[in-house]
Symmetry: C2
Subunit: 239 residues, 2 copies
């Protein structure tokens, strides 16, 4: 046993360094989300993570490196949670673009998939973990940096695109048209508002947290919103 310390591993098979990295990232999501980049001190970050303050420059090259690592981590987690559904829908929509016998995406199927997509997104939002992600992301929306770029490219853009494909199939319009894009944004807005206008929504609805019961309520909103998507002329023909 004369060898110098090489990487040590914990019970879950993570090397010591990986463990410290992860602890820091998790603490950082919370603190950056609540206080912003400048408002988060490396002292607070390392203390909450329970690691040495110097682990930040060591592992991430500095506070900014940690910030970007947080963005990548969030994008990664979101992709893991929503990505599979999004990808599956993406494929289904793509198949519709090169229509072969029996492959056409009918409105009913598109509606079902859209509900599935939105409910998956809502399910993620409900997660308490998502509350801290949301704080981080919303800050980036206000004053986007490189971190926003990464999250947007890695997951957001794909999800919105999938939603657009489905909406296009329902209303029979071009998925790249502004009309479809607007519908997609409005649809997602109805879900996002629960996280983003968090304080106001909680008060309005008398909610303490967003849990299973509250998720049900959001599902109602989703189903109604998807049900309300109809081709423009169909709307006009209503009484």
């Amino acid at each position: 046993m004369s060898m110098a310390n090489t990487a040590q591993f914990d019970a879950r098979g993570r090397s010591r360094g990986e463990d410290v990295r992860l602890k820091l990232i998790e603490a950082a999501i919370e603190i950056f989300g609540r206080h912003g980049f400048e408002g988060a001190s490396t002292r607070a970050l390392s203390q909450r993570a329970g690691v040495n303050q110097q682990a930040i420059p060591y592992y991430f090259g500095g506070k900014s490196g940690l910030y970007l690592a947080v963005a990548d981590h969030i994008a990664e987690r979101l992709k893991a949670l929503i990505g599979p559904v999004g990808a599956r829908i993406g494929l289904r929509v793509a198949a519709d673009h090169t229509p072969k016998a029996g492959k056409t995406l009918e409105a009913a199927e598109a509606r079902a998939l859209l509900i599935e997509l939105l409910e998956t997104m809502a399910g993620v939002l409900v997660n308490e973990e998502a509350a801290s992600w949301a704080r981080f992301i919303v800050r980036e929306q206000m004053e986007p940096t490189e971190a926003f770029e990464r999250i947007y490219e890695k997951i957001m853009a794909r999800l919105i695109e999938a939603a657009r494909g489905l909406i296009a199939a329902i209303v029979r319009e071009d998925p790249s048209s502004e009309a479809v894009r607007l519908r997609a944004v409005a649809l997602i807005g109805q879900i996002l508002v629960f996280r983003v206008a968090h304080a106001a929504v909680m008060r309005q609805l008398g909610w303490q947290k967003i849990g299973p019961r509250e998720l049900d309520a959001i599902h109602t909103v989703i189903r109604r919103a998807v049900g309300a998507i109809t081709p423009a002329n169909a709307l006009m023909s209503a009484p």
Copy 2:
């Protein structure tokens, strides 16, 4: 002229002190909105306002006092811009609660009023001034402080209440029911998303800013969303 300097007035009849106060508040909306409370330095605040750094402790008792003053200022401006419409609608809804001959609020009128209310809100959001208000408010939603309290009580709660009254009149339900509250939140979410998921929306729609043309697009969304509000059983009876 042996008297000591008393208050001096500028061309617009504002005393010097008032002028400095206002300059600081305007600079602070921008900087607090972008960088958060901790991220904003009193040096940056005073420099942008073009006033001395010591004006902050002098006029506002400190950085936190300036922060709260910003909240009050925003609430005040919002109230001035949206309040009249909200109040008028509030009265109309209240009249419906004590129905007398010819006073009943019919669905058609409620829809028209709801569109008016939402379009007014959207109009405020379009305003470039609102971009900075939005940044400030959204931060407060994530991590509410006393500042959120003030804005919520002074204007937000009233607007949501007005919207609820109108929705209730359309769907013929209790304005305090969760169903109506949910509809109100979802409805407002469709507008808010344009400011709140700002970076993502701009990219999705290829917009550079939210101007008159973009406002028209949002109006389309509003009219469609209000049109989609129907009593639950009416929805069921659709083909």
